[in-house]
Amino acid sequence: METKPTCLLKGTDLSCIRDDRVLFEGLTFELVSGQVLLLEGKNGSGKTSLLRILCGFREPDAGQVFWCGDAINDSQYHTDMAYVGHLDGVKKELTVLENLKVSLALGRSGQYSIQQALTKVHLADYDDVLVQALSAGQKRRLSLARLLITQNIVWILDEPFTSLDKQGIALIEILMSEHCANGGMIVLTSHHDIDLYGVDVQRINLS
């Protein structure tokens, strides 16, 4: 992956109001290549809402999000960003391989081939298995494999460790460290305390 030193994800004065309740306001942050932004806070504090604002799904009620100096809707942001949310975003009637082929077709091919990515997330022998036959943790690893086969700089992950076992969590932490070392940046929410060696982790507490 080519490193762009100028890449900067910046949120200025963001606020989010849901059903007349202010979830957060005046939130400002800056994230550069190689950094991780960890959002903390209790349930309902607006972590997922913030992530969806950063994805461009939701407009912030005030403030703006910038990518490399441009507002995210006017920039190349969508080519540089990948999102794994609560929902796995995989079709249960398709096989593991078919799902990844569709994801690859929708994005730009990245650092790893599909086979390499499956090996990385320990699903190498499952390529022709229907997704509905996978366990919840395996589905999660499959949706994370999507990040590896497409080319992107920003990973936006909503509770990436849900339903993963200890081994799976360690695996994802390694992948995240590698991504940061390659000049990527990650925004994530997690209840699990992350343990990233040698990575600059910013924390925002929304409660």
Binding site: R58, T79, A82, L87, D88, G89, E93, E98, L106, R108
Partner: protein
């Protein structure tokens, strides 16, 4: 990957999915066949009456069958998060959405087209009107999918969107119904139908160009 590759990947994906969930193909088709076969039973032994209203019966059934199948267009993608991934793609969402609509038509509209000559003969429609019937279905049913997609995109986020969907979409279906069934009726009596066919063609092209864009915007609103 290039846009055309993504476009065909979406179509291929939806066709494979439909093949693995066969009820999706069977449901609208079965509905279409059932309604049309029930009409002669309900009307009784009046072949002339049946022949006279055959174009209307076939077209109304096709329209209702298309409406019945609409909800499946984005529902499962919305529920499992695939829709988010499609909209996040760097490719224009309207083109990818068009791919989904085309796949949906191939799965739900095309079978109606194939079975309709048989049902038309069953209703006593004259043989020289069959060609025009097929032509109107070929031009009209894609319009039903394209216009319906806007309605589904607007209502997919609602828990009970079915009622609103019919109210939104049905008025827009009316022109297609009027021109198409009128064309088949005229063809049955041996009159020229160029005008109706030309209007259907222009409706189809307008829908093809104009429908995907609001559909994509509405989907972006719905996943909010």
């Amino acid at each position: 990957m290039s846009l055309s590759y993504a476009f065909f990947a979406i179509i291929r994906r939806d066709l494979v999915l439909a093949l693995r969930r066969r009820s999706e193909i069977a449901n609208p088709l079965l509905f279409f066949i059932l309604v049309i076969t029930l009409f002669p039973l309900g009307i009784g032994a009046q072949p002339n009456l049946l022949q006279a209203i055959a174009p209307g019966i076939i077209w109304v059934s096709a329209l209702l069958a298309a409406m019945l199948s609409l909800d499946s267009l984005f529902r499962s993608d919305f529920d499992d998060g695939s829709l988010e991934q499609i909209l996040l793609s760097p490719h224009p969402a309207s083109i990818l959405v068009l791919g989904k609509i085309i796949a949906h038509w191939l799965v739900t509209g095309l079978p109606l087209l194939i079975i309709s000559p048989l049902l038309a003969i069953f209703l006593g429609m004259p043989a020289h009107a069959l060609g025009i019937l097929l032509l109107t279905l070929l031009l009209g049913t894609p319009v039903l999918s394209l216009i319906g997609a806007i309605g589904v995109a607007l209502t997919v986020g609602l828990r009970r969107g079915g009622m609103i969907l019919s109210l939104l979409v049905l008025p827009l279906y009316v022109p297609v119904l009027i021109f198409a069934s009128n064309a088949v009726e005229m063809a049955g009596s041996g009159l020229p139908v160029n005008a109706q066919i030309n209007i259907l063609i222009s409706i189809l092209f307008m829908a093809l160009v104009l429908a995907p864009w609001p559909t994509a915007s509405a989907l972006k609103m719905s996943i909010n």
